[in-house]
């Protein structure tokens, strides 16, 4: 008789061996609801942590992307040759003093480097531009007819100077938008007018399309563009160039192209094998990766600062859960007495911790997006919210829930029901 009874009981026991996970989640949710204020305060750490991760990453990624974008507006396959600074008789000379780059170097590169699509000499100078009663301090830059292509300038109206005008050092120019705005009244068409730059009259043949500020905050529209021959002959009165600018045939060919240029320049400058280069080759990609690595460093810095706040938030969860186990000892005792298993209690507290951190995470993501947008609107900083950042902080939250919830939950599950029920 007893034997059969015990078989039936065993069967019953097996049936209720596992508490439904859904039920456990219910139990955890009602426990969270029962202590709304405490639950909210517990979540606050995670909310702030996640919000700061999201907004810091958004600001970091945003500035990273905008730097890259701005650098690429200067042309991603741009290659630049500058004279190297060097010492003569022990005196260090600046780049400006070196007079090593000449027009024939540019011609030599054009003839000998097949990975180069366009080459232009570059000369510049500064001075005062005058039109009528208006005047404006600005910079004159110059190149050949390929210059606008290489430096990604577009002609908004009018035309670029032609090879005839370059050959004859014609006094023609194109104006940047800032110069136009400062010299001409509204409604006056600058094309066909004559402006004076350092007392030399230039006929305006075109207006450049607006380009905005570059990465360094310089106004790229505050310029006058003229043929390099004109500038060398009439303004700088020098025979050497400030730089030679080039476009490689494609972004992928930049390394090959700069190797070709180096070879060509060494021949052109008749350097011996033992001589150092008296020029420097810079590519836009180098610039990009330099700035990229700076902004990535910033990103890591911002990210880790906010990750620390997330960890602090996690410790907050552990703290509250730990206190909550002590405070709810009788509740745990009761749950154990009415049939809750140690594992059920463990799971309940763990699920509570995970729910708290995940709900906190969701609120934090919302708050972070809101904060980033506010920063963008008020400060005008570029922001970029990536799905990676959201996913990352979310996973991190769940991990924090498990990691910091485990210890208090384990403690709760190991309680002795008799002791727990007796707890005052």
């Amino acid at each position: 008789m007893v034997g059969r009874h015990s078989q039936i009981s065993k069967l019953l026991i097996n049936q209720v061996d596992k508490m439904n996970t859904l039920n456990l989640i219910k139990v955890a949710i009602s426990a969270i609801k029962r202590n709304k204020t405490r639950s909210f305060l517990t979540m606050l750490g995670i909310i702030i942590g996640v919000a700061s991760v999201i907004s810091m990453l958004a600001i970091g990624e945003g500035s990273n992307a905008s730097i890259k974008e701005q650098i690429s507006t200067m042309g991603t396959n741009l290659i630049h040759i500058q004279p190297a600074s060097r010492s003569r008789g022990g005196v260090q000379q600046g780049r400006e003093m070196s007079q090593t780059l000449e027009v024939q170097d540019a011609d030599f590169i054009r003839e000998n480097c097949d990975k180069i699509k366009a080459v232009s000499p570059e000369v510049d100078g500064s001075g005062q531009v005058i039109f009528g009663s208006n005047n404006w301090p600005t910079q004159i830059i110059s190149g050949n007819e390929e210059y606008t292509y290489i430096k990604k300038y577009d002609v908004a109206s009018g035309r670029i100077y032609n090879s005839q005008e370059i050959k004859s050092a014609a006094k023609v120019c194109l104006l940047g938008q800032t110069v136009v705005d400062n010299l001409f009244e509204d409604g006056v068409n600058p094309i066909g007018q004559t402006v004076r730059f350092n007392k030399i009259p230039f006929k305006v043949i075109g207006v450049l399309a607006e380009k905005g500020d570059n990465t360094f905050g310089q106004d790229q529209d505050d310029i006058i563009l003229a043929p390099y021959t004109t500038v060398m002959k009439r303004i700088t009165r020098q025979t050497y160039l400030r730089a030679i600018v080039m476009s490689a045939v494609s972004e992928d060919e930049i390394d090959t192209a700069s190797a070709q240029i180096e070879g060509a320049m060494r021949i052109s400058h008749k350097l011996k094998d033992t001589d150092e280069n008296d020029f420097e080759i810079r590519t836009q990609q180098e610039l990009m990766s330099t700035f990229g690595s700076i902004s990535e460093m910033m990103l890591v810095l911002l990210g880790s600062i906010s990750a620390i706040s997330l960890i602090v938030g996690g410790i907050g969860i552990m703290n509250i859960m730990y206190v909550s186990v002590t405070e709810r000892t009788r509740e745990i005792g009761l749950r154990l007495a009415i049939g809750g298993k140690g594992n059920d209690i463990l799971m309940q507290f763990l699920i509570e911790a995970i729910l708290l951190s995940v709900i906190g995470g969701i609120i934090g993501v919302g708050l972070g997006i809101f904060a980033s947008n506010t920063v963008e609107n008020i400060m005008g900083w570029p922001i970029l919210i990536t799905s990676d950042a959201i996913l990352l902080s979310f996973l991190f939250c769940s991990f924090i829930g498990v990691f910091f919830g485990w210890y208090p939950a384990k403690k709760a599950s190991a309680l002795d029901p008799i002791e727990a029920l007796r707890h005052e």
Binding site: H5, I13, N23, E331, L334, G340, K341, N343, P417, I418
Partner: protein, 259 residues
């Protein structure tokens, strides 16, 4: 005869190690409790009655002897199996109710069934509602536990102990926190449940309360020293009415004095 017995203790003993000494909380206890009994477990504090209740409730395991509960030898069970036994075969009622605060009566009563995945949501709700009806709280199911009087809270706790259809309800000083009138009300409820066939084990040190049960067993120093049936079982309902009459009389007397 044997098929009727729910609980069978065979020379049960329980020792605690307190420091270097061994405290013998229970010595050679033999006891049979049959279905439908209403048994008061009595004794001074330290007599071993709480230890016995913990063992009967499968919260603790005996050191020696055997404990058979509804055909299962409890001695051989592991921690989780004990939890399942508690979940399916035993109902607990505590002195301090032990309800979840800020939780409705219904949710409190549903709690034991949440730990039994064999019970569906619908069945759980139904059983909880039935249990609350059985303790006379049909109209207070949605009330929060902390907004109820002590008597009502203990009724919710009794409903919670009923909800899993246990083979026995174990009450530990269940009237200890209540005034006389409410105690009588609760005892009346227990008597009613017992008349409907529910077996009840009731720990108390008050002879007044024990008088409402059918059988009294008394412990001293871990030994069962007295086990007798109650000759004239008092009806808690009648006691309650008498109490009310006395109260009325008292009031009238006070009024007369005042007059």
């Amino acid at each position: 005869m044997k098929s009727n017995s729910i609980i069978e203790l065979k020379s049960l003993s329980k020792n605690y190690a307190v420091g270097t000494e061994t405290v013998k909380a229970l010595r050679d206890v033999n006891l049979i409790i049959e279905a439908g009994e209403f048994i008061a477990i009595m004794g001074a504090s330290g007599s071993g009655k709480s230890t016995l209740l913990n063992i009967l409730g499968c919260l603790d395991k005996p050191t020696g002897g055997e404990y058979w509960l509804d055909g299962t030898n409890v001695n051989s069970l592991k921690r989780n199996q004990l939890a399942n036994i508690r979940n399916t075969k035993i109902g607990f009622v505590f002195q301090s109710y032990n309800l979840l605060p800020r939780t409705t009566a219904l949710e409190n009563v549903e709690l034991p069934l949440l730990y039994n995945s064999g019970v569906s949501n619908k069945l759980r709700r139904e059983k909880a509602e039935n249990a609350l009806e059985a303790v006379g709280l049909a109209d207070r199911m949605k009330h929060l536990s902390n907004q109820m009087s002590g008597g009502q809270q203990q009724r919710v706790a009794i409903a919670r102990s009923l909800v899993n259809d246990p083979v026995i309800i174990l009450a530990d000083e269940a009237t200890g926190n209540l005034d006389t009138k409410t105690s009588f009300e609760i005892m009346s409820l227990f008597q009613e449940l017992n008349q409907n066939g529910i077996t009840i084990g009731f720990v108390t040190h008050e002879p007044d309360i024990a008088a409402f049960t059918k059988r009294n067993i008394v412990f001293r120093d871990g030994r069962l020293i007295k086990d007798n049936g109650v000759k004239n079982i008092s009806s808690a309902q009648i006691a309650l009415e008498q109490l009310k009459e006395e109260e009325n009389l008292q009031e009238k007397l006070e009024l007369a004095y005042a007059g």
